[in-house]
């Protein structure tokens, strides 16, 4: 056993300092697609461009004819960014207050589908509900029809690089001990019962995080006779995190948001401001950028 202890020590500290310090891997993360030109001259074919149906073009003329993208449906395939770089770009950064949303509508970019008041109201309600949650908090994960990759990303949080425990969060086996319900998957109807039972078994106050585009909208699967098109029809969702799958940084960020440990509106990581509506220049670096950090 002593051998393993030495093996572990030899490499030194590999754990990220985020959210205390910026992390270059989180900051450079290629997130869901976003719209940088909502009023392009040419809108023909835009609505049918997205295989997951995330893109819509509002009716009207001139300025009123706007392109919107629902990041809650974006599966990060990048087709829109490749086909129409004049309209779409990748968003940047896996962390910060805008990497996950407190209302479903806030995932529709550019910011038209949700009012600031609604988002602020959701934030205030969540803050009030989670005011009693302090120090060590426990997370129960449930897979409600994922593709399996989401579980890899969630379990990466317990590894040495993300080390969830340093933020005061722990995974728990029993829903009775859980404060946060972290749900992945498209809302398979076979999991509706077990998911609801888990939610009901958790003591109040409790918070639900829908992790991944599948959990938000069903993603490519959408709503069908065997999937509910996301988990929000089964349990009430508080934090919506897009991604296919979401990255470990994104999940950590969403968990901290859920329990009010992420300074809202502030700059918890270096990536916060890099995550806004990306500019065409940002799209340029998107193609060539290589995440740094770990070797």
């Amino acid at each position: 056993m002593s051998l393993w202890v030495l093996r572990g020590l030899r490499e030194g500290v590999v754990t990220t300092r985020w959210p205390k310090r910026p992390d270059s891997y989180a900051g450079s993360w290629q997130g869901p697609a976003t719209v940088h030109e909502p009023h392009p001259a040419q809108t023909a074919g835009l609505g049918g461009l997205c295989p997951a149906g995330a893109i819509s073009v509002s009716a009207g003329e001139g300025e009123r004819r706007a392109v919107r993208l629902d990041q809650g449906r974006c599966i990060l395939c990048g087709r829109c960014v490749t086909e129409r770089p004049d309209v779409f770009a990748w968003s940047r950064g896996a962390t910060g207050p805008s990497a996950a949303a407190l209302t479903r509508g806030a995932l529709v970019v550019p910011d038209v589908a949700e009012t600031d008041e609604n988002i602020e109201a959701a934030r205030a309600a969540l803050r009030k509900r989670t005011a009693a949650l302090r120090r060590s908090l426990h997370v129960r994960h449930v897979d409600a029809g994922s593709d399996g990759a989401d579980e890899w990303e969630v379990s990466a949080l317990t590894g040495p690089i993300y080390d969830l425990h340093r933020t005061g969060l722990f995974f728990t086996a029993s829903p009775r001990h859980a404060d946060v319900l972290l749900v992945t998957g498209a809302g398979a109807k076979g999991m509706a019962g077990p998911l609801l039972h888990t939610y009901e078994a958790m003591p109040d106050p409790k918070v639900v995080v829908a992790a991944g585009t599948d959990a938000i909208s069903g993603g490519l699967l959408g709503e069908s006779e065997v999937t509910a098109g996301g988990v929000s029809g089964i349990v009430p969702v508080d934090v919506w995190l897009p991604g296919s799958p979401p990255t470990p940084f994104g999940i950590l960020n969403a968990l901290l948001m859920a329990v009010g440990k992420l300074a809202s509106g502030g700059k918890p990581g270096g990536a916060a401001d890099a995550n806004g509506a990306a500019s065409p220049a940002g799209a340029g670096t998107a193609q060539g950028g290589t995440p740094g950090g770990l070797r």
Partner: protein, 492 residues
């Protein structure tokens, strides 16, 4: 339809299939397709042989509500026939246990089944929400306290309707769904799907594309095997070893995201080739690979030198070689039980035919230890393949840049280059970290009318019924981890 053999009736199909298997071909899957206009089903069986995958078919009589089951003649069909029954309600007569497999049945189907009677026997229902971060599956462990005379698995909880979703998709959209069918083997699924589509369209990916495909497929294999090693270390209580393998795995995933933007290699493989070259220069990739291999090998050697850990794996979850051969066990599970049919050797695709791939060591002990040994052999092979592929990519770049030739035109002459307007049917395959993945794809005018993915996880998981002889409850996590399968690939 372009099946190799079209029989009349199920019995004749099973005769042909049995003769093929007796002649050395491997049963690789069975599924059904509804024929609405004829009010009947077509049964399609796949057989793998050197160089290709054959399809044998038979149409049932119109309105037939049943057919003679294959399972009593060929045990490997056990889950396949249950799946057909779930989807179509047609009864395979003589099937030993027609419980729901992939579809959530009625509540009375959910009573705890009891297979073993005896004093003090009870059933531990474990799942679908289990401790830790796991995919949803329910294990029903029948036990008198320690031994596990019978295990039952319920995989239907997370059924997502993937096959149905494929129908009507364009060829280009289909690969996105294939990548999300079994997320931890995204690249292998995309490859198998694209191989089928490319066969239909009659196009051959350019050399550079074949190399990029190998690059991502082998990185995916390394990440998966590291995941298994980490889970085994966790089961054995080796916290530091678990952390070390988690660290290596994270570095592999970060290398993949540095190459393509996705940590799972999604968006790389497209019908006809690949979408882009790696975003890092070959020299950078080679040096990253060198660092990874050195660190992984050192920790793997240390793990295989930790006696307390090996004691838990040796003899645990033993799959008899005869049983592995009869079932046609895939991937590392088959290789550990002296049955190896690695698609990269026997039905090579993309750049594999020209890359040197040394055979791994032979194993026949069939236990969890052998399965881990096989995985380390495969990791070493993967690094060898990766270095060759990256070196050749570098040569191509020096010789004038392969950027132009990353994607072959896959459509009718004069088309836009995509597979629009193409019709036909083909079976594609790829060797995932879990074993062979098959895609039986039918296109009509560039749209998918039927797509049947068959993951190695589906074919192999049923073998977990058979490996608990002499093992006890505390061996369970070792056995589950040593299988290294994904539930998403089982209940599509």
């Amino acid at each position: 339809m372009t099946a190799d053999v079209m029989e009349t009736g199920a019995a004749a199909l099973w005769d042909t299939l049995e003769a093929r298997v007796a002649a050395g071909e491997r049963f690789a899957g069975l599924f059904a397709t509804a024929r609405q206009e004829e009010d009947t089903l077509v049964l399609s069986a796949h057989v793998a042989r050197e160089g290709g995958i054959g399809t044998l078919e038979a149409m049932l009589a119109p309105g037939a509500g049943s057919y003679p089951a294959l399972t009593p003649r060929l045990g490997a069909a056990f889950w396949y026939e249950r799946e057909i029954h779930d989807h179509f309600g047609v009864v395979p007569q003589g099937h030993p246990r027609l419980a729901p497999l992939v579809l959530h049945g009625s509540p009375e189907d959910h009573a705890l089944p009891r297979h073993v009677a005896g004093y003090g026997m009870f059933t531990i229902p474990h799942g679908p929400v289990r401790s830790g971060v796991t995919e949803s599956i329910e294990y029903l462990v029948e036990t008198p306290g320690e031994a596990i005379p019978h295990l039952n698995m319920r995989v239907f909880y997370k059924h997502r309707g993937i096959e149905r979703r494929f129908e009507g998709m364009t060829v280009a959209d289909g690969v996105l769904l294939a990548e999300r069918t079994e997320g931890i083997a995204s690249v292998a699924h995309a490859l198998a799907y694209c191989h089928a589509a490319e066969q239909i369209a009659g196009c051959v990916p350019p050399r550079a594309a074949g190399l990029v495909r190998v690059l991502h497929a082998e990185l995916e294999r390394i990440a998966n095997h590291l995941d298994v090693a980490g889970k085994l270390a966790n089961a054995g209580g080796l916290a530091v070893a678990e952390a070390r393998f988690a660290l290596h795995k994270e570095r592999v995933l970060r290398l993949v995201s540095g190459l393509c933007g996705s940590r799972f290699g999604r968006g790389v493989v497209v019908p006809g080739g690949v979408s882009a070259l790696p975003r890092q220069r070959p020299a950078e990739i080679l040096s990253a690979l060198g660092r990874l291999e050195k660190a992984i090998t050192a920790d793997a050697d240390a793990l295989m030198d930790t006696a307390s850990f090996l004691d838990r794996l040796r003899g645990t979850g033993r799959l008899d070689p005869g049983r592995a051969r009869d079932h046609g066990a895939l991937g590392p599970i088959g290789k550990a039980s002296a049955f190896s049919d690695d698609g990269r050797f026997t039905r090579p695709y993309d750049a594999y035919p020209s890359l040197g791939l040394p055979a791994g060591r032979a194993h026949d002990s069939g236990d969890a230890l052998a399965r881990l040994d096989v995985r380390w052999d495969e990791v070493a092979q993967s690094f060898l393949l990766l270095r060759q592929a990256v070196a050749e990519l570098a040569e191509l770049a020096d010789a004038g840049g392969p950027q132009a030739a990353l994607r072959a035109a896959c459509g009718p002459p004069g088309g836009a280059g995509g597979a629009e307007g193409v019709s036909g049917r083909a079976v594609g395959w790829a060797e995932a970290p879990q074993g062979e993945v098959l895609y039986d794809v039918t296109l009509e005018d560039g749209r998918i009318t039927r797509c049947r993915p068959r993951s190695a996880s589906f074919h192999n998981l049923v073998l977990m019924h058979e490996v608990f002889a002499g093992d006890i409850l505390t061996d369970f996590p070792f056995i589950e981890a040593s299988f290294g399968l994904s539930v998403a690939g089982v209940s599509l």
